[in-house]
């Protein structure tokens, strides 16, 4: 009797599985990379989706080819692109999502919305901005290289993120910052350099709108104030006249140089922001960097602790000036990439501040940078 009961249940459960429609891997086109653009046609704005699908079917001629569709919503554009594909498109594994310059300037939250709403989309997909339209970028990329586009581009950005030069560009992180009061996200910008896709800089976002561009170096400065960074290659320069006594070698091309250029490796860096005075909106940033000296543009002898201190001072001054320049630039765009507002909102008096109120206050904020550089070692020579 017991066996009959159990086997009955087993049979029912096995049969019940047939109730779900199967979706075969070989018969779906998995969207790996997606590009979104805004285009104008007959005076109406359309969303254009460029899709690189991945098809597992060994008989399919090209495993990855480009599909383009237009529509009023992202899903609509995708459905139109799907008409060019023999298999249904599945968005479950979008790895990279590109936004053309135009689309990014208009604000990308509407495009992200569909991704957040769909539970089957991974939160770890990477977002990036392209210098031209995303379609041009992907088409051109597809033309010049035969390697797996998605993986190539993904590794390209991932490498910079691992080096802490760029903050994370995952969907989950970006959407977290986008509506957070008092901090603005940044994303990498991809373009072409000598016919090779490269990261050309970082895009400053004000909420979800692309408003300005900073260099990768500056993006590192922003990242350093957000999290502990390490193993990042850095550059600095110090005025040459301070080191007249230490220069070990002179040659014609270096003679007229005003600066000595240094190549450093950051072994540890951390910046903390403090709200110094609530009413006058003055902030203090304390940045500690431990670096290794890898190369100097003019060979130098650093024999004593005193000269090493002098070098550290000058590097500090250089970074401090760079930070100040960057802060000015951010304020001119009215973008709070450092996240000063987060400190402001975390206080009892400022906790009810809305994003709009903060942007009005932000331009009156002052920031005092204090950089502390320690050179840990000089390699095998001093």
């Amino acid at each position: 009797m017991q066996i009959v009961k159990i086997s009955f249940i087993a049979v029912v459960v096995i049969l019940l599985q047939a109730c779900l429609s199967p979706s075969r891997l070989e018969e779906t086109a998995i969207i790996n990379t997606r590009g979104v653009d805004l285009v104008e046609e007959d005076g109406q704005r359309f969303i254009e989706a460029t899709i690189i699908p991945y098809i597992f079917d060994p008989e399919a001629a090209e495993s990855t080819s480009l599909l383009v569709g237009r529509g009023t919503t992202v899903k609509d554009a995708r459905t139109n692109a799907e008409k060019q594909s023999p298999y249904p498109l599945s968005p479950g594994k979008i790895n990279m999502d590109f936004y053309g310059e135009e689309a990014a300037k208009a604000g990308i939250l509407p495009f992200l919305n569909t991704l957040i709403r769909d539970a089957r989309v991974s939160d770890r997909m990477q977002l990036a901005i392209t210098t031209k339209t995303a379609r041009e970028f992907l088409e051109y990329k597809q033309e010049i290289t035969t390697v797996n586009t998605t993986e190539y581009l993904q590794d390209l950005t991932k490498k910079e993120i691992d080096l802490d030069i760029l903050p994370r560009n995952t969907l989950e992180y970006f959407t977290r910052l986008i509506r957070q009061v008092g901090i603005d996200p940044i994303l990498p910008i991809l373009g072409f350099h000598d016919e090779k896709p490269t990261i050309t800089g970082a895009a400053l976002f004000k909420e979800d709108k692309y408003v300005g561009e900073v260099s990768l170096m500056e993006s590192f400065f922003i990242n350093q104030l957000r999290k502990a960074v390490n193993e990042t290659p850095l550059n600095a320069r110090v005025p040459k006249e301070n080191y007249k006594d230490m220069i070990a070698y002179e040659s014609e091309p270096t003679e007229d140089e005003e600066f000595v250029y240094l190549s450093l490796n950051l072994s540890k860096g951390k910046g903390t922001i403090k709200l110094d005075d609530f009413d006058s909106l003055s902030f203090k940033a304390d940045i500690k960097m431990r670096v290794e000296l890898l190369e100097t543009s003019i060979p130098m002898d650093i024999k004593t602790a005193e000269t090493s201190k002098r070098l550290e001072k000058d590097i500090e001054a250089y970074y401090q000036a760079e930070y100040e320049k960057l802060f000015e630039k951010l304020q001119s765009h009215n973008v709070d990439s450092f996240g000063l507002g987060r400190k402001y909102v975390a206080t009892r008096k400022g906790s009810k501040t809305t994003a709009k109120e903060w942007y009005e206050k932000y331009n009156n904020a002052t920031m005092d940078f204090k950089v502390n550089v320690t050179i840990v070692n000089y390699g095998t020579i001093d």
């Binding site: 249940i9 029912v12 459960v13 019940l16 109730c19 779900l20 429609s21 594994k93 539970a119 089957r120 991974s122 939160d123 770890r124 995952t170 989950e172 959407t175 977290r176 910052l177 509506r179 957070q180 009061v181 987060r342 400190k343 909102v345 975390a346 206080t347 009892r348 906790s351």
Partner: protein, 374 residues
């Protein structure tokens, strides 16, 4: 209806297992959405609301135990019959019956909704419901001891998934919690009220009490059980507030699953799917215990045969499942369950307490007088 229940020894279980009963009953699908529900009311001070709710639940449990200990081997139905008479006791018992059925229905449909949104959008509610009900019925046919055993085992099979929250835990931003106590007391209290659905379930003590062996050793497992699950709820809420931005938290329906979405492993990219599958093992024990309560009340009040009560109520609930397939209908169901819970779970014991105390005092006086007269 008899007031005192004689439970045969083979149907009793040790007080130690009350830990697992209370723990499993308070778990369920509520945790998936709690961070958001409390956050909507209490903002980033939601964690304070959770601690307050926990303290209130502990006090309630002590009161419930006190009430039950005034009698020998009574369940709540017996206590009510003693206080208000048989008829009113039956009415309140029926409300309990309806309440448990709504609870059971609501956790099943919520879980089915999660499966549909995340994993199988095309699956049919009725079939998923059937697959969930079959093990419930099967367990209950084995009797109370089997039920407790299943509950016991499922706890060990389930809660390892919390380790997967390590990645969001590492990324917590403590600025999200500042300033502490920013919201007023009224907001925090509203957060406590919003917790009612998630924390409900401990009312099973009123029904399962006569079956416990060694009733004097019961306090510790009960308090530890509710502490354990409250800690998990607190943990998940804290991580959700620290990790997600306020705007995200306000809009995501199941924030806990969103936390799992960012965790990956080299083999499995989407661990949230694993968690959803695992969550069946959280839903099942609660469903089994709820069904036990339903059948117990039916047997005790209306003299249903045991098997018939299980089958009949399972079929009724199964038939109801397909009607709850829209998000807002399900929300309405949860809300109405919550309203009954306010009265029945959170206020009713407080109301019973003075009555029981007075009644016992009067009885003692009477006894004293009788002695004196003799």
């Amino acid at each position: 209806m008899k007031k005192t229940i004689q439970v045969p020894i083979h149907n009793q279980f040790r007080a130690f297992y009350m830990f697992f009963v209370i723990f499993s009953m308070q778990a369920g699908v509520g945790i998936l959405g709690t961070p958001r529900i409390v956050f909507l009311e209490a903002g980033h001070d939601a964690w304070i609301s959770i601690i307050l709710t926990y303290l209130y639940v502990v006090i309630l449990l002590m009161i419930m135990l006190y009430i039950l200990r005034q009698y020998d081997n009574h369940d709540i139905l017996g206590v009510q019959a003693d206080l208000f008479g048989n008829f009113i006791s039956k009415v309140i018992g029926t409300i309990y019956l309806v309440y448990f059925s709504l609870q059971l229905l609501s956790i099943l449909v919520t879980y089915i909704e999660v499966i549909k949104v995340f994993v199988f959008p095309k699956s049919q509610s009725l079939i998923l419901g059937l697959m969930l009900i079959i093990p419930v019925v099967y367990t209950l046919l084995g009797g109370l001891r089997v039920t407790i055993g299943v509950v016991f085992i499922f706890i060990f099979l389930t809660y390892w998934v919390l380790i997967l929250l390590i990645e969001p835990l590492r990324q917590i931003d403590f600025l999200n919690f500042l300033p502490i106590m920013d919201r007023g007391i009224s907001d925090i209290m509203r957060g406590v009220v919003a917790n009612a659905y998630t924390f409900s379930g401990f009312e099973i003590l009123f029904f399962i009490y006569p079956f416990v062996q060694g009733k004097d050793r019961m306090t510790k497992p009960i308090i530890l059980g509710t502490s354990g699950i409250s800690l998990l709820i607190l943990l998940s809420t804290t991580i959700a507030i620290g990790f997600l931005s306020p705007d995200q938290l306000q809009r995501r329906i199941w924030p806990l699953l969103n936390l799992y979405k960012i965790q990956t492993s080299p083999i499995i990219e989407r661990l949230d799917y694993v968690v959803i599958a695992e969550w069946m093992m959280v839903v099942l024990p609660k469903a089994i215990l709820l069904m036990w309560c339903i059948s117990y009340i039916a047997i005790r009040m209306y003299n249903f045969p045991k098997k018939a009560s299980i089958y009949v109520f399972s079929i009724i609930i199964l038939v109801c499942i397909p009607f709850f397939n829209e998000h807002f209908v399900i929300q309405k169901l949860i809300d109405s369950t919550k309203y009954i819970a306010y009265g029945l779970v959170y206020i009713y014991p407080l109301f019973l307490l003075p009555l029981v105390v007075i009644k016992k005092r009067v009885q003692r006086k009477k006894k004293g007088k009788n002695h004196a007269n003799r």
